[in-house]
Point group: C2
Chain length 560, copies 2
Amino acid sequence: MDRNKLIMASLHDEQCDLVLKNAKVVNVFTGEIVDGDIAVSGGMIVGVGEYNSRNEVDIGGKYVAPGFINAHVHIESSMASPEVYSMEELRQGTTTIITDPHEIANVGGMTAISDILSAAERAAGNYYVMLPSCVPATPFEHSGAELSAKQLAYFRNDPHVIGLGEMMNVVGVLSGDREIMDKLDAFSGMVIDGHFPLGSGKELSAYISAGINTDHESITYEEAVEKMRAGLSVLVREGSASRNLDEIMTGIIENGNDTSSLAFCTDDKHLSDIRRHGTIRYNIKRSVELGLDPVKAIQIGTINAARIYGLRHIGAIACSYRADMVVLEDLKSFKVLDVYKDGKSIKSIPEPVPMKYSRALLNPINFAPLGDDAFKIPVKDKYSVIGIVDGQIITKKLEYTHEQLEAGLKDGSINKIAVVERHNATGFHAAGYIKGYGSIHGAIASTVAHDSHNIVVVGDNDSDMLKACEELRRIGGGYVIVSDGKTLGSLSLPLAGLVSLKSADDLIRELDEVIAAAKSLGVSEGIDPFITLSFMALPVIPEIRITDCGVFDVTKFCFV
Amino acid sequence: MDRNKLIMASLHDEQCDLVLKNAKVVNVFTGEIVDGDIAVSGGMIVGVGEYNSRNEVDIGGKYVAPGFINAHVHIESSMASPEVYSMEELRQGTTTIITDPHEIANVGGMTAISDILSAAERAAGNYYVMLPSCVPATPFEHSGAELSAKQLAYFRNDPHVIGLGEMMNVVGVLSGDREIMDKLDAFSGMVIDGHFPLGSGKELSAYISAGINTDHESITYEEAVEKMRAGLSVLVREGSASRNLDEIMTGIIENGNDTSSLAFCTDDKHLSDIRRHGTIRYNIKRSVELGLDPVKAIQIGTINAARIYGLRHIGAIACSYRADMVVLEDLKSFKVLDVYKDGKSIKSIPEPVPMKYSRALLNPINFAPLGDDAFKIPVKDKYSVIGIVDGQIITKKLEYTHEQLEAGLKDGSINKIAVVERHNATGFHAAGYIKGYGSIHGAIASTVAHDSHNIVVVGDNDSDMLKACEELRRIGGGYVIVSDGKTLGSLSLPLAGLVSLKSADDLIRELDEVIAAAKSLGVSEGIDPFITLSFMALPVIPEIRITDCGVFDVTKFCFV
């Protein structure tokens, strides 16, 4: 930062690079809307008031808000490359993303983090990284990599790294596990993200006492407000699968709670959903629809996140802040008219091209041969079945007798689900039953399966399920749909089996096609065929999941 | 911090060191009052809820708020030692002070800062230091020391240092002065305090663009809100001489401004005023009287300051925060019933004893011999007279003809004022005229004179004024009152000629006596004889001052 240049530009109009004339400026510090011109120099805001310059853009009385901040996102879940994703967020007004490359790190370890930090440097928007704390997520599955406290500390001083990513191993924290304490110690003084679904009472207190600062897993107002009271910053999440905003914000508004400990996030959001609604733009707009003051909503989506994460130069339209700004039609539709990043309209930013990623991360589908009876399940008296809960990330543990199960399989209300280790050909694989996915004929499979990203496959017959796994190997990772031995559709995700290297337009089109193909197989209304599937292997969210080691009861921490 | 100990205490009542039972807990995150017990372990809060322990204190339904934070204070202005001052603040509920040892650094330079950091370590309360940025304050006077960017950077990593103290050299900032830019660069990434009285418009923008984060000099609501809009955190000041709270907070309340960019401070407050009203306790109480929601007022005096200064573990009653707490009778009187520091009642803290300070800082009164005509002022057509403004730190520049001056001197409305360099016996001294101090017979002198702390003396005759200077030399620095050649009272301030090493009780008694003696000489009602005097030599606050180099017009930056 050249202080002298900024000082001179503040004082002398003619030294400004750009002036946005006639703006209604959203001031997140005073809570006001202030009429004025916004002066920019060297990518920074140097004044709001009366300014004139050779390079002026007339805002015509529209609103200008600080660029939005997405406080927690796993960009791999969008399947877009970091460069493409950053640009998509920018188009919707989000100039800063705080990401946790947890997914790709579970596949590619240190190599993946190194590549992500290189991509962060190239991204069009501000791109901060919380280093993934739980690789692997649990000891109950096999991921592609393991990251120790020492390895994570290697990246601590990277300028894009601002803390430790969500600490999902709640049991490990509460029991004072040595390796986890080492990780918390290694990032002491930086922000440490939490992840404690349904966290409450003394366990919640202990979790926070360990040094955790944020949480984005609240699904009810009561859960959110208890976490805020206890000292956590609550990131209100509205993603593609987990949509918690309405419940939480309605409570906040009705109870008149202070909002300074809230920020907005998406966690996981599909590219097509982003294109349709935006990310933080949607959270803000929806909060206003629910009755929140528009400036307060914008504060939550901007300066609050900056304060929570200690980012001093973003989140406001004021001197000494980056010229990251969103031009809005009004504070109701929140229609984005233009976005400025470092004082430049994104209209002038070229389409992003993904960098050359490391060879180790490309097409890494490596599972041991599967016999014809790989997914056979022995006959039992009772079966623990994974029950999908509509619109939520949590599942219900259902108990079925053999007769009930047979009936469910027959009427299509129950499917088989399997997970296959795909990183190091260990041969681990497991099968179980799932309810609520839809009455499909065939198999749907994916190499995107939180958090270890083994292959997850669902279907009504073993043959199509096995064929789907082989098809994934052939295309180098991604999504596939197989029915009666035929591939009905597929999406290639060559980067770690998680991420496409296509443009956003191409990826959205391909995704739409593959989702339509999956839906045509009979997937239930209200279920996203692949995202819902991808959460079924995540053994940190209650109540029941499946990993490559077996069906797992999350609340009892045991295989069933 | 022993994470394991805290985690276990959160989970298991019996491992808590202390439980405060039946509290109404002020929650600064949600804006609520929550009934509950507060559990403490290892000096930290480990839970709020239902807790039982062998060591319980029944709060009996009283309010418990986070310990208050004084966001900006020069403790030398209290004349108490750091240890004694910290304890006085603690007794009034302020568990954290953010100090700028600007005064003592102007006398003792690096030695003084080093000693203050040692004292900070011994202080009973949290004691953070902003390193003084302007030693000397201006080139228009002679202080005892000069501190370069390089020298200041020496202390940057001390655990008590959290930033760079108030940057008073506004002209230097706006002109991009090299040495000042070096200082700002040296503390880049840390908080940099500002000081820009009447700062506005493009100059204010430029000042902030240089990297300044806070300001505590606002005297009107309009000034404060412009500074907030422009990006400064505004520290609302209520000291002994500068009382800005009513004006600013009334405007904030009436306009419904967001308060998250506000904190409270005293800047300079007398020990007896602190004992009578408290510091931040008073700011909070008064804001509530003016109509502010009590929890909002407490937020300003606690978590807001912590956030502004990046202090992650103070300012709230929640897990992972220090167990710094104030027990309050109610949220109206804000009567302090007890204070806990690191989970211990201050009733159990022994009376503070000042440490052994460096020899170089003790009794350093060193001025060149003064001739009988040292304070003679030549006859002129016009005189620029310093006009005191009641209850404000600013002065008015008054123009007097020779006849008007003579009349004023005769009727006692005008006095003579002089400043004598007292650090390095350079022989510099200057005299001028002052209006509004009171019709005194004799002289009142002090070695406390912001910011260079030369001798400042006021009187109606040169002989008593000269005698007062010699008396200051004899007692090793402090306050003296002389009339007709006789010393009517004195206060010894052996540490740098600024600070007493006595107990608070003794110092307050001695101060009361010396102030009474000064008042008996005829000092105007509403004027503090010594504090008002101490600001007359401060050439950074408009409009007119006197230094050892002459009478100085602050608005025109020239001697008159």
